[in-house]
């Protein structure tokens, strides 16, 4: 079925045909025709943000918490450039997102016209693909291809830049939802030979480990269910990256906790000592590997990833399996069941005994305090008081983010929205709003830092306007704690510009936005205050005063190996200050 309509109408129609119910945006001259169409229909809800970066992160939160595509809309020039951080964030974290921007009319492109920016040029390196639409004839196919590219293979952000005159022109619209405009068709199924070889390697393993990541969540609920089956079937211990938390339940028997720079002792040592490592949808990020030449030196490595460029990028593996996690796990389980391998029970028992020894270190122990709130304690209480509910957690970036990952135990996927790859302060609040709008009845909490929350605090106004009762739970330590920790590690504790001076009064700030402010500084009051926050059906800024100088442990200092961790409870200031050698100092 084809129909005549304007370019602006095509945009809305394509959104409807793609099943989009909510978009996040901000108007301006070059997108007015699209906003005019939005005004005249009721199928697509537009959420007006306060800054385009907020629209981008809200779309990311919406996407990650639903598994659907997030959609953002911005005007030309400054609207588009404000979107760059969110696009880069989505690219690094493999979040499917479609961003539509307005552009000056085609006749003015290249003349330094008012609010002209080379949007496709600027966003080329921070999108999976982008298009400048030069002819109305191309618009329908490009709009639908944008959704296909964003969601196919390794997901990512795409951008469609539409000049204003194209938005006004009339053309023929066709719903080309299931047609491919380009030849982009990544393989999802892996070759049988690779599957068989993987089963052989895994069957013979004496000290196996599953190292899982965001790719499991990208692949979807089926992959998550298969992963859980696979753990049951093999009995392998399992750890995950920050991006993969919740795919395997933190309450599960085989769970070792998160791995990496701030991962648990047991996860990192098991990675170091294993003989067979199965990496499932993770990308051997430098936060994971630490010193590459000492990374899991004696293991055979199997790597399942849909993107061939992830394989052998940082770590050379023995057996690459290029394919979608869901498809590959399905085949692996079938092959395992067919092969019925006899595992070395004694070796596995010894391996688990070793792991239990590492677990006994209780690496997440911290010194409790009766007078001041320890940040770890705050997250523990938050978890205890919200775990039974339909809860979604987002974070900002810093120590609080790592404490959230360590002490808030995720049992389900798509429940933890965090900026992993780019580490974008200011991500959490808008992402929480996007998440809340996708899950209206749920409890959505942004675990925030006092510095990060100020990066996109203006979105409180968005939350109030759209009745998104998100809770920003600020671990207020008066510092850019993560920066301060690194200054202590690397720069003789000279705390150059990491103190957050002249903080706003967060309670009154909340009130100024028409939200609710809560302050708490005593451990004894914390539970009641959290309960109160949960009860309030409006946006809340929770100013949780925690001790100022707590460090985030365990930590593998940069440039060190997995078995050279700093543990929290017993590390001295001197050890902290000498932990990183000169070679490690240049690393981030």
């Amino acid at each position: 079925m084809t129909r005549q309509m304007t370019g602006a109408e095509m945009v809305i129609q394509a959104l409807i045909d793609q099943g989009v119910d909510t978009i996040f945006g901000y108007p301006g001259g070059a997108v007015l025709p699209i906003f005019d169409e939005l005004f005249q229909q009721e199928d697509v809800r537009h959420i007006l943000v306060r800054h385009e970066q907020g629209a981008g992160h809200a779309a990311e939160g919406y996407a990650r918490s639903t598994g659907k595509v997030g959609v953002a809309l911005a005007t030309s020039g400054p609207g588009a450039t404000n979107m760059v951080t969110a696009l880069t964030d989505a690219l690094l974290d493999s979040i499917p997102m479609v961003c539509i921007t307005g552009q000056v009319p085609t006749t003015l492109i290249g003349t330094d016209a008012f609010q002209e920016a080379d949007t496709v040029g600027i966003t080329r390196p921070c999108t999976k693909h982008n298009w400048l639409v030069r002819r109305i004839e191309d618009l329908p196919a490009i709009l639908h291809e944008a959704f296909r590219i964003a969601t196919t293979g390794r997901p990512g952000p795409v951008l469609v830049d539409i000049p204003k005159n194209i938005q006004f022109q009339t053309g023929t619209y066709e719903n080309c939802k299931d047609k491919a405009l380009t030849q982009y068709h990544p393989a999802v199924k892996a070759p049988d030979a690779a599957i068989r070889e993987a089963v052989e390697l895994m069957a013979a393993a004496k000290k196996p480990i599953l190292y899982t990541g965001g790719g499991v969540i990208n692949s979807g609920p089926k992959a998550v269910a298969l992963l859980r089956d696979f753990v049951k079937l093999t009995g392998f211990p399992i750890t995950s990256t920050l991006m993969g938390l919740g795919a395997y339940p933190a309450s599960g028997r085989n769970w070792l906790g998160m791995l990496g720079m701030h991962g648990t002792y047991e996860a990192n040592l098991a990675m170091h000592d294993c003989d067979v490592m199965v990496c499932v949808g993770a990308r051997f990020d430098d936060r994971i590997t630490g010193r590459i030449d000492a990374f899991s030196p004696n293991s055979k490595k199997i790597h399942i990833d849909i993107d061939p460029s992830s394989i052998n990028k940082n770590v050379v593996v023995d057996l690459p399996i290029v394919g979608d996690v869901g498809h590959v796990l399905e085949d692996l389980i079938a092959a395992w069941n067919a092969r019925k391998p006899v595992q070395d029970k004694a070796a596995h028992a010894a391996w688990w005994k070793q792991i239990d020894g590492w677990r006994a270190k209780k690496c997440l122990t911290y010194r409790p305090s009766a007078e001041a709130i320890m940040p770890q304690y705050a997250i523990e209480r938050l978890h205890a008081l919200t775990a039974g509910r339909d809860t979604y957690i987002t974070t900002e970036v810093g120590q609080h983010q790592m404490w959230a990952a360590q002490y808030y135990h995720f049992d389900e996927p798509n429940r933890f929205m965090t900026s992993g790859g780019l580490g974008t302060m200011g991500y959490g609040l808008p992402a929480a709003i996007g998440t809340q709008l996708a899950h209206p009845g749920a409890l959505v909490i942004d675990i925030a830092g006092d510095a990060s929350i100020q990066m996109n605090i203006q979105e409180m106004s968005t939350a109030v306007q759209h009745n998104a009762p998100v809770k920003a739970f600020i671990l207020n330590n008066q510092y850019m704690g993560m920066v301060r920790q690194w200054q202590q590690l690397l720069h003789g504790n000279r705390l150059s510009h990491s103190y957050v001076d002249s903080q706003p009064d967060f309670v009154r700030l909340a009130e100024a936005y028409g939200a609710v402010g809560i302050r708490c500084s005593k451990p004894a009051d914390l539970d009641d205050a959290i309960e109160e926050m949960i009860r309030i059906d409006r946006p809340v800024l929770f100013d949780c005063h925690v001790v100022s100088l707590a460090n985030c442990f365990p930590m593998i200092p940069s440039g060190k190996a997995h078995n050279e961790m700093l543990l929290g409870a017993d590390v001295s200031d001197e050890e902290i200050e000498t932990a990183i050698g000169t070679a490690g100092k240049v690393l981030v």
Binding site: T182, T289, R291, P297, S299, P308, V316
Partner: protein, 185 residues
């Protein structure tokens, strides 16, 4: 490429990078001929710190809007594989082939070389041009423009000699390359 268990390599190495097996590779890349495709390829190389020794691009099939990009780059084998995979994930890229891996490929380049001078020097330039099978495409009383086609190394040699024969300027097309034999990529 040989893969040995537990032997990991990375950009994150603390040691100085091993220079060992770095060599130049000729990649042939088939792409949709759409606006910005060259910028995507070039941006990928600059953004990820790969180097380009030579790059040529032109449409090879008008009806299907396909272009062939020929890139010469250097690196150790893992880096070259990474470059190929990074190219492969660009949406408009259809195919990436490493002609150097495929075997001794045919590699040709064209150069226009302008020299000026009189007397002895001018005669010498002409003699050398004949020896290299360069054609005269322009001449004045005190200058020549030669056209030479050949493997890049031959052109390098010719240009080197012309430096002593009044070389004024030169323009090179960059590489066109195909695998030998009957099959295409």
């Amino acid at each position: 490429m040989m893969i040995v268990a537990g032997q990991s390599q990375s950009a994150y190495f603390l040691e100085e990078e091993l220079p060992s097996t770095e060599r130049s590779h000729t990649l042939s890349v088939l792409v949709d001929n759409e606006p910005g495709v060259l910028a995507r390829v070039v941006g990928l190389f600059s953004g990820r710190g790969y180097n380009i020794e030579s790059l040529t691009v032109s449409e090879i099939e008008h009806s299907s809007h396909m272009s062939r990009i020929t890139i010469v780059t250097t690196g150790r084998p893992p880096v070259i594989s990474q470059i190929m995979h990074q190219l492969g994930r660009l949406v408009p890229v259809h195919k990436v082939v490493n002609l150097t891996w495929a075997g001794d490929a045919l590699e040709r380049e064209l150069a226009l070389v302008k020299v000026s001078g009189k007397g002895e020097i001018r005669d010498e330039a002409l003699r050398l041009a004949q020896a290299f099978s360069a054609r005269i495409v322009d001449a004045t009383l005190d200058s020549y423009v030669f056209e030479i086609t050949g493997a890049p190394a031959d052109i390098d040699r010719f240009v080197g000699l012309m430096k002593d024969c009044g070389l004024v300027e030169l323009a090179r097309t960059g590489l066109a390359a195909l695998a030998r034999g009957r099959t295409g990529i």
